[in-house]
């Protein structure tokens, strides 16, 4: 699904990612962990195509094609989804209108028929039920006045609606209480399938109690310094990131 080779990324001439190698197969759930400032969010944003970042070296292959020259919306229509760590507010634009535009943009981008108003309404209602969200929120402006938890649930709702092939969840768990975490994890787990890959970016091990990963990678100072399976998470929880850094130095 995804093949990243020696990826180097800068922002405003400051080097953030210094050579990332990562392979994600179809159906796999990968977790990226690491201390603050390690470049976790940068990796997510670069995969999504954020214009502020410059790729200064390396390649990203997504399902056999070169991802780097593609515009963000082209990547989205190719089935790539990113859930934002800090979802932005767009006053005056309702969630339902936005979702309909997005879903139809992706459908037509994939050569499929778009949904009309009635079809879309029943479609989105189902997704709302899945995430235990009240329908009334559909008529509010995007993220305006939403609590942190509501914003994150909105992100997962969008993921559920867009049915991506590769979903990157950037610190989805930050700022959530246990109940919200459960609901969101439920939503993510329901999306697991052999043809879908998920990359979870997180700071804490807690999320992994709810979403079982296949692989864990630790990012530090712009490089992946360790990869392992789910047991790595418990070791980190126990010993902290500095343990890894020390062992790296050794």
């Amino acid at each position: 699904m995804l093949d990243i080779n020696q990826l180097k990324v800068s922002i405003s001439d400051k080097s953030i990612l210094k050579g990332i190698d990562l392979k994600v197969g179809a159906g796999e759930v990968h977790v990226i962990m690491g201390p603050n400032g390690s470049g976790k969010s940068t990796l997510s944003k670069v995969l999504a195509g954020h214009p502020a970042y410059q790729v200064t070296g390396g390649t990203i292959e997504y399902n056999g094609c070169d991802l780097i020259p593609l515009a963000p919306e082209e990547r989205a229509r190719a089935g790539l989804f990113m859930s934002f760590q800090y979802p932005v507010e767009i006053p005056g634009v309702t969630n339902i209108n936005f979702l309909k535009a997005a879903v139809n943009a992706v459908l037509t981008g994939q050569g499929k028929k778009s949904l009309d108003a009635i079809e879309f309404l029943s479609f989105i209602r189902e997704k709302c039920k899945l995430l235990d969200m009240d329908e009334s929120f559909l008529y509010r402006s995007i993220n305006e006045g939403f609590s942190g938890g509501e914003k994150k649930r909105n992100e997962i709702l969008q993921m559920a609606a867009l049915e991506p092939k590769l979903a990157i969840l950037d610190e989805t768990d930050s700022g959530l209480d246990i109940d919200a975490l459960r609901v969101i994890s439920g939503g993510v787990n329901a999306m697991r399938s052999p043809s879908r890959s998920i990359i979870l970016v997180t700071h804490y091990q807690r999320l992994l109690n709810y979403i079982e990963p296949d692989f864990i990678h630790v990012l530090s100072d712009g490089r992946i310094i360790k990869s392992g399976d789910k047991s790595l998470a418990l070791e980190l929880e126990d010993k902290g990131y500095s343990w890894l850094k020390e062992s790296e130095e050794v």
Binding site: P72, E73, V88, I90, A102, L121, L138
Partner: protein, 482 residues
């Protein structure tokens, strides 16, 4: 970052679609203005004596007035002697009695403009008073309106058929002394609409007028007068388009609205005058005086406007809230791009008791344009318990344009409650990226965000007008879902 800005600009660079000229032969006065021209104008229109007298008084007063200079907009001085003050399609010496009698070329013109008269017959009740240059061509649906006693006819006809109403109300809201362009308009106005809604009547359909400036150097001086008698209701739509031109064209209209006890007038405008080319050449100068008088108790006047054209826009649709419990509303979206300049706003004058006014103004500026909101909320000492809410928001697209807000709030009675809020923002990169990551192209994202920004105003427009407004703003409207 640069790429996103480019995409924003591409959206706004859609070529002006309505640019073309009709080849119909036209009766046109030679350029120039003096008392003889006015007499000739009045004669050609067959006006009664009182009308000529009024025009001459206005003209004489105009001669004493200095040309206005506004600090905020800049334009080369206008040569009033270089304008022709009358232009009419030849065959209108005898007016057509039905659509079949109208010059097919003319009808074709209207089709090009997107208002095929024939199709409109089937539309659920929109009566069209199509104004071609300076003389009204056809008035449809007169019969249906006549049933209810509603008078909707060209101004020139009203001068003949309803002189009493004309004498009573003409110039009572915008006297010719009011300002330079009002005086000029009063002297040389060519035509426009006259509407009278009798007591207790709810006008059964939306009334509308289309304008068009065709001949080069023909100033357009339209005059509209709408009178809503006790407990009546009318919704009036004004939508304008104009062809491409090189010389600047002046448009100095006057609109007067009178609402009596319990009456309501809703006046909506979608304005799409030629804005000038990318370098600011050509384009219409739109200097309009629009004023509504809420004379009756519990009367209401609402102005809704979507302005996307004109090289220079100078207009302040206002409401004088004289009747107790009267209500004034102003909803506006003003878009400026390239070299356009807009200085628009509103004046709400509170005189009576318990009056209320609402102002929602949304300005969008791009290119190197200049967009200013200038408003006045004046609560006079007699205005007990007045309420005003104003919201002025500016959206800046690009780093070379400007947006200004100059709200004047003058309160002379302690029971007044006035609230004013203003904000300036841009479409942030983050918002655009968010939409793009969801598969929405940046062009569509900009449309969507602009639509969200203007929502409060767009929802005030009558449905079919909202569609045209939507096309103009280049976005898809939300009303359907939910």
């Amino acid at each position: 970052m640069a790429r996103n800005n480019d995409q924003i600009h591409t959206l706004l660079e859609k070529d002006y679609q309505h640019g073309f000229v009709t080849d119909i032969e036209v009766d046109t006065f030679l350029p120039g203005l003096d008392e003889d021209v006015i007499r000739q104008l009045s004669f050609v229109k067959g006006e009664p004596e009182f009308m000529l007298e009024w025009r001459l008084k206005a003209y004489r007063h105009w001669l004493t007035m200095p040309t206005p200079t506004w600090s905020s907009v800049h334009y080369p001085p206008i040569d009033f002697q270089a304008i022709s003050y009358y232009s009419a399609p030849k065959q209108l010496k005898d007016r057509p009695k039905s659509l079949a009698e109208v010059d097919p070329l003319l009808l074709e013109t209207y089709e090009k403009l997107g208002i095929p008269l024939i199709e409109q017959e089937m539309l659920a009740g929109v009566a069209v008073d199509a104004v071609f240059d300076s003389v009204s061509v056809a008035t449809t649906f007169k019969a249906k309106l006549a049933e209810k006693g509603v008078i909707f006819c060209p101004f020139s006809e009203a001068v003949h058929e309803h002189p009493d109403l004309m004498r009573q109300y003409l110039g009572s809201v915008v006297p010719y002394r009011d300002n330079f362009y009002a005086a000029l308009n009063s002297a040389v106005f060519s035509d426009g609409s006259f509407v009278y809604i009798p007591k207790g009547v709810r006008c059964p359909m939306e009334l509308s007028t289309y304008f068009r400036i065709n001949q080069a150097a023909t100033g357009q001086f339209e005059r509209t007068l709408i009178i809503a008698d006790d407990d009546s209701y009318v919704s009036y739509l004004e939508g304008c388009t104009a062809p491409m031109r090189d010389e600047n064209q002046l448009h100095a209209a006057v609109v007067e609205l009178v609402a009596l006890d319990g009456a309501q007038i809703k006046y909506s405008t979608v304005q799409n005058w030629y804005p000038g080319d990318k370098d600011g050449k050509g384009g219409i100068y739109n200097f309009v005086t629009k004023r509504g008088a809420c004379r009756g108790k519990a009367s209401k006047i609402s102005w809704t406007q979507i302005e996307t054209g004109s090289a220079i826009t100078w207009k302040y649709p206002s409401v004088i809230l004289k009747g107790d419990d009267s209500v004034g509303e102003f909803y506006s979206v003003a878009v400026t791009n390239n070299h356009q300049q807009a200085d628009t706003g509103t004046k709400m004058i509170h005189l009576g008791k318990n009056t209320r006014s609402t102002i929602i103004s949304k300005g969008i500026s791009a290119g190197v344009s200049h967009n200013a909101y200038r408003g006045l909320v004046n609560i006079l000492p007699t205005a007990v318990n007045a309420r005003n809410y104003t919201q002025c928001d500016s959206l800046l697209m690009g780093s070379h344009c400007s947006a200004h807000t100059f709200p004047y709030i003058e309160v002379k009675h302690p029971s007044a409650q006035v609230e004013h809020e203003a904000s300036t923002s841009k479409i942030s990169e983050e918002q655009l990226f968010y939409c793009q990551q969801r598969g929405i192209s940046s062009e569509d994202a900009v449309s969507m965000i602009v639509n969200g920004f203007c929502k409060q105003v767009l929802k005030e427009l009558p449905m079919e007008f909202a569609v045209e407004a939507t096309k103009l703003l280049g976005i898809s409207l939300e009303g359907a879902v939910g």
